[in-house]
Amino acid sequence: MMNVQDGLTLLFDTREDKLQDLIQLLNKLSENIEANDLMPFGKMKKIHFARWVMMDATHDVDGNPIPAHLLFESDYDGDEAEHINEMLDVGLPGFIKIFRTCKGFPEKENVTREEVLVFINSHNAPKTGLFIGAWGRSVEQIKQEKELYYAVEDYLDANREALITKSPLEIRNKVREYVWSKDEFAWSKVPPGKRSFKQNFQYYGYLAFLVCCAIILLPFLLIMVITALIMLRRREMKEPATDHHLDKSKVSLLQKHEKFNLQNQFSAVGNIKPGTFRLRFLKKTLWMINRVSRYVFNKGKLATIPSIHFARWVFLDDHKRLIFISNYDGTSDQYLTDFVNKQPAPMSAIFCHMMDFPKTKWLVLEGARDMKGFVAWARKKQIPSQVWYSAYKDITVKNIIANTNVRMGLYGSISDKKAQQWLNLL
């Protein structure tokens, strides 16, 4: 069976009187993220990425106060309940300590695991749009395939003289013989889980369902989309131009949090434009992205951006705000320019419903194409993560996909030509 990944978002209100405690706690976690004694993420085998983010109190578009929040997010394998359980298995003391700084948590000496679980479940934010760069691969698979890849490369180096005169197919068979003779790669004798019958049924059945609906509803859909676009255009025209001013000191502060350079995280939060129209439009768009993303974006690219591991949109505060959370390869500078260079249209289609986004025209034109405006907007909305965990800091999305392809080349009998193509991966 193919592994399923999903995202969990928990949102809490923080207690002002415990703010310092919280900051200290998060700092402590951050210092030794893998193996601290409160919440050792390294021991949670199902987590790809996780973060704790403190969000300051602010105001909604109408000027009503929004309290300070603490947000937890994780991208995990398998079943959500199991994932939460695993986190509690190793991180219960940490969760309790952190939750003591949040509103609504039982204020007594001994809190039971059950109570913590209830607290978590009652703060679970509903899922909205999710994007996954490397579909179906579990943390374990990603790590194993990385080791396999290195073993194959090293084998080629060590045996270059003997192999270089052989045909591509012979070389591939030699490599396979070697890898499969090793105990640590015994797992690789079996191909990764394919979609089970049930999963296949769901996958293709749902696709068929979507296509049928689209065909049947086509006239209706067209009219709706056109009407919605016209309504949108009227609103777009009324909106003022946004400013291009980049807050340099904030950027340098944010960049100081980027310690790894190979992978980084991005969180941006902001108010949705007033009125129900924008919100409804956004909900529909995210709904659609969620439906079609596994069919359209399943090559590891969020619309040709090949560097995003996970990305997510979640509504906060009674749908007044939207947060965008992602884990990606490279630096934030590169990440933001990638959006503008490669896919301004989808970015505009989603983010134009948020306050201060550069003016769009017909939903997808202008908007994110305005390089200066987009970067200034994104930096304005961006917030730092106090704690950030990645299960595999040194692997890019491209690596993950390439490593799987290297493994897949081991199976079955293939032609000499295919074997050459396989060797080109190395």
Binding site: Y149, E153, L156, D157, R160, L163, I164, K166, S167, P168, I171, H244, L246, K248, S249, V251, S252, Q255, K256, K259, N261, L262, T304, P306, D329, G330, T331, D333, Q334, T337, V340, N341, K342, R369, D370, M371, K372, D394, T396, K398, N399, A402, Q420, L423, N424, L426
Partner: protein, 475 residues
């Protein structure tokens, strides 16, 4: 195509001065501001602009942020320079981005590092003959001394006739094509001039953020109005200048090439060593691209620059994916989508204006001669004064240095950095191995543990203002 205010733009931005092979860069520190301003006003008239091609000598000037502060540019104005410029080149964050660790650590720099005296001004002198440089230099230095300005460094340069850099490869071939500077008219899609000069539209059809002053600070009306803010565009016709003084370990480079191309009996094979070295560069010593001539050097194509990677060499069998020139300007080969790739790489170009320094190991710059010569010069005796212009430091120079040169996961590669110029220490965490693979059939050859061939000896970001802005700073 737009009309350039060539009289306003300093000459070095528009020209490489290849007819003026002798040059020296003076790094200066201002102590007495009054005198320095007088001095600046005097030499302000002699700064070479871009309008006429200089025949005998040229002089250009650039300032650090500290320099402009010292000269009294207002706080407001200083804040409008880009964040990258303000941060400089030697912070911890930049160290991580550029790979300046170990020998390249800014703490060890000769200038521009955290422990070095503040550089304020760089004066760049160019002449046709060596004698003229000597007299020119003498006059200029006398005046500098008279104004009480401290000369921190005199950085010599050398420019061999064959235009080779110290490893023995022809340099300065590929530059962005700028319609405004071309006499013959565009052969291919020109790059927007605003990528290199402020005050003109860039590749996004926008004006890159430019330093500005308040209207009240410009009584003489020297600068154009910035449409968005109504401020005066102090940066118009200027450009950010990146200077990194890079030491080259020529012996180490060729030793590595010979050692890793020996035959079965352990003998050096000259042709193979040259080939391996060329694979690292991506061009042959003559300058001919490995894409155009994969098997051997063919000097007849040495200046040919209209080649493409994905179209002509998609598997890297000629020019490896990781070669210096393929990394630094991937042309059509990013993501395997040529059109998108060209669209993107246009946004990451540099106008290179650097020159070598130090005496060549062998005058001919021929690898065989280099190997034969017993070179006793200390490390740092020769290298490249890497100088380039760009309008957006983050998107151009820093992007290239960080995301292309110093990225172990560049494209589809794993644990490889730029084989020629990257620091093998990478981003400082030593779990990265620095290898270089050469695509071949049936499978790639991989060289492990490349040593350090190039190290950073000093560096800083400068701003090269327009002629009017120089006068403004002097007033």
């Amino acid at each position: 195509m737009v009309t350039l205010a060539k009289k306003e733009i300093q000459g070095l931005i528009l020209r490489g001065y290849s007819n003026l092979p002798n040059a020296i860069y003076l790094l200066l520190q201002i102590t007495n501001v009054e005198n320095a301003k007088k001095w600046l006003a005097e030499i302000g008239d002699q700064i070479t602009d871009g309008d006429t091609k200089p025949r005998e000598n040229a002089m250009n000037i650039a300032f650090t942020l500290e320099g402009m502060k010292k000269l009294g540019l207002s706080k407001n104005a200083l804040k409008t320079f880009s964040g990258e410029f303000e941060e400089g080149m030697s912070t911890e964050h930049k160290q991580l981005m550029f790979g300046d660790y170990g020998k390249s650590d800014p703490k060890n720099w000769a200038w521009g590092g955290p422990h070095c005296p503040e550089v304020h001004v760089m004066l760049m002198l160019y002449t046709d003959t060596n004698e003229r440089l000597e007299t020119f230099k003498k006059v200029v230095i006398e005046r500098i001394n008279a104004a009480g300005i401290t000369i921190l460094e005199k950085i010599d340069t050398c420019r061999p006739d064959n235009e080779k850099e110290h490893f023995g490869f022809k340099d300065g071939i590929s530059q962005p094509f700028l319609a405004e500077l071309s006499e013959k008219g565009p052969a291919d899609d020109p790059i927007a001039i605003g990528e290199f000069i402020l005050g003109y539209k860039n590749e996004y059809g926008q004006y890159t953020d430019s330093p500005s002053i308040l209207p009240s600070e410009d009584p003489a009306n020297l600068f154009p109005v910035e449409p968005e803010t109504n401020n005066k565009d102090f940066g118009a016709n200027g450009s950010y200048l990146v200077f990194r003084q890079l030491g080259q370990d020529v012996k180490a480079f060729w030793d590595f090439a010979y050692e890793n191309s020996k035959d079965k009996n352990g003998n050096y094979i000259h042709e193979e060593a040259v080939k391996l070295a060329s694979k690292m560069v991506g061009r042959w010593p003559s300058g001919t691209s490995l894409v155009d001539s994969p098997e051997k050097d063919d000097p007849s194509m040495c200046d040919k620059n209209d080649f493409l990677y994905h179209t002509q060499d998609p598997q890297g069998l000629g020019c490896p994916y990781g070669a210096h020139v393929r990394r630094n300007h991937p042309r059509d080969c990013l993501e395997g989508i040529p059109k998108e790739s060209s669209f993107i790489t246009r946004k990451h170009r540099l106008l290179r204006r650097g020159r070598s320094f130090g005496a060549p190991v062998a005058k001919s710059m021929n690898p065989q001669d280099i190997l034969k010569t017993n070179d006793t010069a200390p490390s740092g005796a020769r290298g490249l004064n890497f100088i380039c212009f760009n309008a957006d430091l983050a998107r151009q120079f820093e992007f290239i240095q960080n995301i292309w040169i110093n990225n172990p996961k560049f494209q589809s590669l794993t644990d490889e950095l730029d084989p020629l110029v990257a620091n093998p220490l990478g981003r400082g965490n030593n779990n990265e191995t620095n290898s270089f693979s050469i695509q071949e059939k049936p499978f790639r050859k991989r060289l492990q543990n490349l040593p350090m061939f190039v190290h950073t000896m000093g560096g800083a970001y400068f701003f090269m203002p327009s002629i009017s802005a120089v006068k403004y700073l002097a007033s």
